[in-house]
Symmetry: D2
Subunit: 359 residues, 4 copies
């Protein structure tokens, strides 16, 4: 571990993910914020946009160009739309910064899947192979020396943490995976949009993007990699995924359905729990609940934790897996800080461990 502070900049710092990155880094003992950029609010203070930060983070928002930002920083975190990141990130890398990107532009290994999912031509496909998928629980070794980290999507993180133990051990059938998921409203970002107005969202609940949501292919590709660890016989090619919008600000739940393979003969709820306990035994941020307890999004609010558990439905021979996270926490900004800790050799829970709230 080093105690020299790393210089961190955030490009696109005034969205909800950007603000959560600021919250994380001001509580981080080994990081110092250099640039917070914003096209819309350049010249204002960060605390003018988020009054909650008055006296806490009064940095002036800048419109510094990526070259300068990169030169001034050890780590640049980009919270930009897809299609924009793919053009900005190479500039940052060329100017010496290490980068964690929050868009979908570097999350895929398969170019065709990316281009089909995002309906874009990638200007730098050569970077896909170099980018590390920023899920520390699966890729922490690769993160150590990564120049470019693709922070996973919120739904993929929640789904993959739930599925990983069973995929890597070949315990569920590759073609049986259904993910029914729910997100809080902050997942839609900080914007003026009638669809996310209080009077349209409160006391409401609905599915959206119910076929073809971009995170579907991201989940499927990572499921494929996980399932390959159990051999070639049971490889995931696709998953069924349905997101829903719920009337809370932060939080995400995935309820996952899958069929056991023959390797998992005799499965019951206890055995599902044991698989989780064993697989995540050494993980700080994945909390395997006790046998009878199911996760609640409120228990991970504002944190980097992700709580999981599962049950077996003998009537229909179905495994049910449940995972909850904060969509802005483990689902976005705080996971990026966890990845940064891996990249710069800090303890992985630095600045993150105690970030919870009881009420």
């Amino acid at each position: 571990m080093t105690t020299n502070k790393i210089k961190v900049s955030i490009i696109g710092s005034t969205g909800y993910v950007g603000a959560e990155l600021v919250r994380g880094f001001i509580n981080h003992p080994y990081a110092e914020i250099i640039h917070l950029t914003s096209q819309t609010f350049a010249g204002k203070k960060f605390s003018d946009v988020y009054p909650v930060y008055r006296g806490v983070c009064d940095i002036t928002l800048s419109d510094a160009d990526p070259v300068q930002v990169a030169k001034d920083s050890d780590l640049v975190i980009t919270a930009l739309p897809h299609g924009v990141s793919s053009k900005t990130v190479p500039v940052l890398l060329d100017n010496g910064a290490r980068v964690i990107d929050h868009s979908g532009d570097f999350r895929y290994k398969d170019l065709a899947t990316y281009e089909k999912s995002y309906k874009l031509t990638h200007p730098h496909p050569e970077l896909l192979a170099k980018a590390v998928y920023g899920l520390p629980e699966f890729y922490r070794d690769e993160l150590k020396d990564a120049k470019l980290v693709a922070n996973p999507g919120c739904y993929p993180t929640c789904s993959l943490i739930a599925l990983a133990p069973f995929l890597t051990k070949g315990l569920i059938k590759a073609d049986s995976i259904i993910i029914d998921a729910v997100s809080g409203v902050s997942g839609a970002g900080r914007k003026s949009d009638l669809a996310y107005a209080f009077c349209e969202t409160d006391e409401a609940f609905k599915p959206y993007g119910a076929v073809g949501h971009r995170h579907t292919t991201e989940i499927a590709e990572q499921c494929k990699f996980l399932s390959l660890k159990s051999g070639d016989a049971n490889v995931v090619r696709s998953v069924t995924f349905t997101p829903h919008l719920a009337p809370f600000k932060r939080g995400m739940l995935a309820t996952v359905y899958a069929k056991p393979t023959e390797l998992f003969a005799g499965v019951d709820s206890d055995k599902i729990n044991e698989v989780y306990q064993e697989f995540y035994n050494n993980e700080t941020f994945v909390r395997v609940l006790g046998n009878s307890t199911l996760p609640d999004v409120k228990s991970v609010y504002g944190s980097n934790y992700i709580d999981v558990n599962g049950l077996y439905d003998a009537e229909t021979d179905t495994i049910k897996l449940f995972s909850v996270q904060d969509n802005l926490g483990k689902g976005a900004a705080l996971q990026a800080i966890q990845a940064a800790n891996c990249m710069f050799g800090f303890d992985e829970d630095t600045g993150l461990k105690n970030m919870v709230r009881g009420v």
Copy 2:
């Protein structure tokens, strides 16, 4: 149609279902409330318990015994716990009232399934065959002369309306049904319970009763009956069902996953919509949304409507069906009034059609 007012009494009138029954009947042109009973609040006015009803329904709550209530009423609606209904309802029937019961005690045709699901011995199993399952869209002919109506559970109504067209036509595989559902907090009833306190429920979301919820077998039995209409080859024996608790007061959504049969070769989202359109063409309260629109619980708030639509996910050959209702409306009290309209020969939408709210 008759214009003589029917005499209606409600046993257990101060829970949320009871209160919603009151709301429905005071807006019903052909019904008159006779008794509102309450063990806890007898002697008080209904509007003392629900101040919103001051000047609107100031009936004094009574502790009249079932014999008297039955003798004074054409229709008695019971909003009692299971195990209590099974003892009270026979008394009501013996004393000449027609009855709509809200518990699980008369919803099953198969005694063993009831007794296993509710862990009770039924004191009057002979009534199971006589009870009509109060889903007017499927059983309106039987409702006309019914003495005893078992009002369906909220989750079963929501699930069965979504599934019925596909089951009766044999378009989905009987063993592939997964129902992922969400309820508002009023589904837990009106009670002092920390689990449903504002600070424990707001900004929260969680699964509960995720294996073995009683509504699972109720859904399965009715699915069986519906599937038998398409022949003996594809009969539903069980379903996978997972309820969740969401931070809104009223409302329910079911997201249903199923695999198409060969009869549904060439399925796409348009064809799913067509099946719905055709099946529910003449139904006032089942609203089939346009092709691209998915249901939102807010659109059925306070009403007897249930909105449905479906999509086909070609990647995984999966049919997704969506239905939303108000758990206290179509999911409970207002559906009981719809059933009462069938029982007494009123137009089925009497008093219910315009009960909606835009904001």
Copy 3:
């Protein structure tokens, strides 16, 4: 009473007030909707904008000009911005329609106060004297023959109903009135605005427009008229008023502070309640709660009721008055229907009495 249906049109029908007017009129036995106009959504169905109305109100939104709308209608209700109403309403009147307007343009008798409050020059000041302030509890006689009714602001209605008995009897000091009020988010209207986004409004609470809110002068002018009924010695010239925004969709509370005059020597909480009971004895929609009960906005949700009560604080010789209403109900659209009932000779509670909801 007449049973011929009146022909009603709504100009600006797709805002929240417009939608609530639709809800009211489709439940009104003696009204028929002719035109629903919308600049933004002309050509679409009303139920395309508010899916909750599918099958309930599928009228096509029109861009008919005011002349045509007036000629086709007995009553036109305008839900337009101030400054627009003052130009449109005269056209409607000239073409034979009676009008209820929801803007501030015709609420004042004093032109200078209007022009100062709204920073506008009134194009038709001659109409101010002719317009009737649409608070039926105070002006129902004038409403009978009114051609133009200015529907009161939401805060003024809530404040004036709380204050009226005490002002008209000279029981409170004219210069001591402080109104601390709270509105639900729907008061801001249906629009894309970050300030009213779910993530900005949920779990939030704040004052706004805390000095100079336009409703201040509207309240003051009406308080003046009410206070003049008790003589010239204690006339209200101004009031202190502070609105707040609260995280609920519909509802409004006014907490009013005032000092008793010598006429109210010996005041206590019982006497305050008696004043209310006596003054509102014959009013259907003003509900005076029992001595110990304070109003809650939830009790008037979706209704035209306004609940009031008051207490005396002997420690500081202060009278506290409380009133709650639905800001879209008694505070806007449903009060307009109450006024329309007065205008057209229907029972004042026609279509409104049972419009309540318990949960």
Copy 4:
């Protein structure tokens, strides 16, 4: 400053205030939790009661008696009901611990006022003179050596911070103070009570305890002390206070009305702001907003900050002051930690400064 960790115990640790104390102390670099006691949950882990703390605070809850707790601890924080604290705290003091108490039992200097307000006979009135009122902004010198600190009530903290600059300088009339305040639901504590159930509290808003709320006399006594600093001519004897319950979990706003004295001739909004700026210039946790900005409870969520600002209403010669805090933060647990920092010689913002959240 010392870097030896102080030993802290919390008696009554599983209520919302207790849980917030835990959150604060696990993030405190110089404190170590020794005992967390609970009568209800002794033997369970703290994280069994609050699953959010799994892996973060898994301390086993104890039923250790106060003698033992005191002997093991440098600081004991009691979160007990009034009437219980007055008996427990002396035991703790006698056994060598310094104590911060959260009840009303030690907040008053005047015994009669306490006994009248709480309807109790105080068993240890001699302690009232020794107890320090734990508002560091006013009493930080006294806190340094305090053995017993009475943590202020939530409403008093919010009200007094708003009023202090004007009282101490004699700028507002002593008999003109009206405090209209709003609390989130967590203020009612963690308990099973229908009144605070989600379905009763969501989409609701109401006054409560509108005359005679206990915090009224606590506010008045402290206002008296503050006003005495400006001389004997304008001493506060009583205040008008009205609390309301709002549908959010955490947060509190006070809107305060007062009349300027002659000393404040020429008052305008800018001058009010200047008084605040000057008075709180060196305070970390009192944030004086810019001239045009009014406080929002969301900006202090989860923090120890309290935001203030004021306006002058020239029409009625009224000063309006606004303050917001988190009722569990600056209004309870986090303020206790601020006081503890004073008591033990740490920087006053230790462990508290960065505890904010943007979304």
